[in-house]
Symmetry: C2
């Protein structure tokens, strides 16, 4: 029986600030980064890979926290962990001294996500299946046992969650076949980073349409005149039937958000993403009311399930953009999918960064197959950056994620990438003057 023998945690940073890939009104110069975790076992061919996504400084803090978080895993039997994925999550999560630094938010929670993502990857590899398949092979009872439902009982008890999953149990197989034929629909953000010129924006929108995308997303919020011009370019390229999304990355006050978004209404945006503080549930609810029928989307900074519960309770959002590496791994992601199903809000996961696309494809497929059974209003983010560093990169064809087949959570990076971009001693960073 294999055991976990050691935990390797790597601070890896890619110098994306040089090209302004990923630039937006709040984050002008991020270096897309990860706190990357490898769970080594005494079987050389078996390891678990996971990470959380960061944007440069402070990745070292998350890496140090991940090392502490993962410590209780050393010496554990892999099969024990795989059979009790809820129990090991709760054990790591409930360290009361680390909990004080949250609870369930910020650096310690990002670190929990990185570690438990690696545990889920290990479980899928041990089972010899991709993560989405591991999840769709689990019974409603098993899924609910793995989900973090703490603090949700006022809207969703475990029994209610089981009932919700049982409603969609029949038809799982058929929906898998459907996705294997068509893929899971996605949209692209690669066109619209704020740092790009108008010409580059137009060209990238044209390329997106040519590649089969029906949705295009632009960053907004730095300058209204620029936003009007850029939205005009995008709308012109995608035509009246294409979907235009806009994303302000938290730069506005609530009244300002309402005014600014209404000034862009002529371009018929499908949603405004992150109009204000990600913590402001009631603010999002007020914005949503004031800009309808334009939708409100948020979630990439949604710190935990308790925040999402309230976003749903308050009727604050039209689209839930949970983040696979900010929530406490699959355990907490499950809870948010269940809440979203209960409140009938479509989940369109946040992706991009480093490796988030690799992760969320599994989650979106699982949602369609086992939770929502619905594609209506659902589209998963795709950003065409940094996939070359992954051993099993996601594949997008005709504006849809191709269903992954390799065992695991698609989270493993190439050793060479790690050696090059490990911070600060990897060959890239060490060679800087």
């Amino acid at each position: 029986m294999p055991r976990i023998t050691s935990v390797e945690v790597i601070d890896v940073r890619f110098p994306t600030s040089l090209t302004r890939d990923g630039s937006d009104a709040m984050n002008k110069d991020g270096d897309h980064s990860a706190a990357y975790v490898v769970l080594h076992t005494d079987e050389p061919s078996l390891a678990g890979y996971g990470f959380t996504f960061t944007i440069g400084r402070g990745t070292d803090l998350v890496a140090a926290a991940a090392t502490q978080r993962a410590d209780p895993l050393i010496g554990r039997e892999v099969d024990d962990l795989c059979e009790n994925l809820g129990a090991i999550y709760r054990e790591l999560q409930s360290d009361s001294q680390l909990r004080w630094l949250g609870p369930d938010k910020g650096v310690i929670h990002l670190a929990l996500a990185a570690v438990m993502n690696a545990v889920w990857d290990l479980a899928a590899r041990r089972a010899g299946v991709p993560l989405w398949r591991l999840l769709t092979d689990m019974s409603p009872q098993q899924l609910v046992e793995a989900a973090d439902l703490r603090y949700l009982a006022d809207v969703l008890t475990p029994d209610q969650a089981v009932a919700l999953l049982e409603q969609k149990e029949s038809g799982r197989k058929q929906r898998i076949e459907e996705l294997e034929a068509t893929g899971y629909p996605c949209y692209t953000t690669s066109a619209g980073w704020l740092g790009y010129s108008d010409d580059k924006l137009r060209m990238l929108c044209e390329e997106a349409v040519a590649a089969g995308y029906k949705h295009v997303k632009l960053k907004v919020g730095a300058d209204l005149a620029d936003d009007i011009r850029r939205c005009g370019i995008a709308r012109e390229v995608i035509g009246p039937d294409g979907h235009l999304m806009i994303d302000a990355n938290q730069v506005w006050e609530v009244p300002q958000a309402i005014e600014w978004v209404n000034a862009l209404a002529e371009f018929d945006p499908l949603w405004i993403e992150e109009p204000t503080s990600p913590d402001d549930i009631l603010g999002h609810a007020a914005i949503r009311k004031a800009i309808a029928p334009i939708g409100v989307a948020t979630g990439e900074h949604g710190m935990n399930r308790v925040l999402f519960k309230q976003l749903f309770q308050a009727g604050a959002i039209d689209f839930c953009q949970l983040d696979a590496a900010r929530l406490g791994s699959v355990n907490e992601v499950l809870a948010v999918y269940l809440l979203a199903a209960k409140f009938d809000v479509p989940v369109c996961p946040h992706a991009g960064g480093v490796g988030l696309c690799e992760l969320v494809q599994h989650l979106a497929i699982f949602d369609y197959v086992a939770v929502s059974g619905d594609l209506d209003g659902r589209v998963t983010e795709y950003v065409d950056h940094l996939h070359e560093h992954f051993v099993e990169p996601c594949v997008v064809r005709n504006g849809a994620y191709v269903v992954p087949v390799a065992p695991g959570y698609s989270a493993e990076m190439h050793r060479e990438s790690l050696q090059t971009y490990q911070y600060p001693h990897g060959s890239y960073w060490a060679a800087l003057p």
Copy 2:
């Protein structure tokens, strides 16, 4: 003109888990700790001291984050900082790469609190006055310029905040004299830690009453039968006119909180503190509605001003227990006091831990003198632990904080304490087998 020459950050941990001081239903074995910051200047007699409070593991993460947060201070002129306390806060807070790890929550925000608390301490020392006096000497305009009002514009604009402070400008001097005569009222939590026996509980309640306290607080939430027995003892000792508060430290689900608190209603608690997740604004609102007239209190884990804004908007709390070392120092504390005044909710700051009493006495005095002008419903926590480590410990007499007179924010610890309890190499920890 003095300049900041270096920043010293110390992980200091006191072994309180040995005596179960501070034990509650969520935190059974915390070692009360601090990430402690010293801003050294080129004037040997001038330094700034600050900290944030933690409970053991992970203090190293906060200390590492504080080192990063404080880095831009090195080389700065002290007087420049003191004249622009809002500007330096915003500069440190808005590092976009660190912001990604929050924003404004968890480890990076605790670290900001520690660093900016030291800057405020330095400013008060440079002015030669205690922090409360530095604040009460500032004009409404200066206070609002220092306050972090971002994301609050839907309920409180800077102009409204100035107007609010102007209403209480006259009478500042008289209220100071009043507090200098009587002190600021406090209550004690030292009696009711969950790990104490019934006999110890009774004895400590008797001692509290004898010492002039009118309020006593008990930890609850582990076992209902125990809670009924312990509340009975406390109520018997303090009599029908004393105030009994109870504190569950986040252990309940929302429906469970309602049931449990109502089962303790016969003991007439003034408030239930932290009944559920500190992030659950709507949950607190639901609990408050279901247990009236028992009040709801929360705030020691209130992560930032955006959370407090919503607690007020939702009518979720009767008492605001902001924490001086979890919010981003005085800058963000100012914002929460202003919000509380606008919504007419009394602020009863969280204290205890390490050094929180030393800090909050300044804030409570400032609130009475310059913001609320009111003592009704207001009582500040006091816990009789670990004061011996501070150079200017707070003094409590007849159930009230004596107005401090020494320059600064009362945050400086004795060098000997730091040398003994620095983790892991201080003499206490190094000597453990």
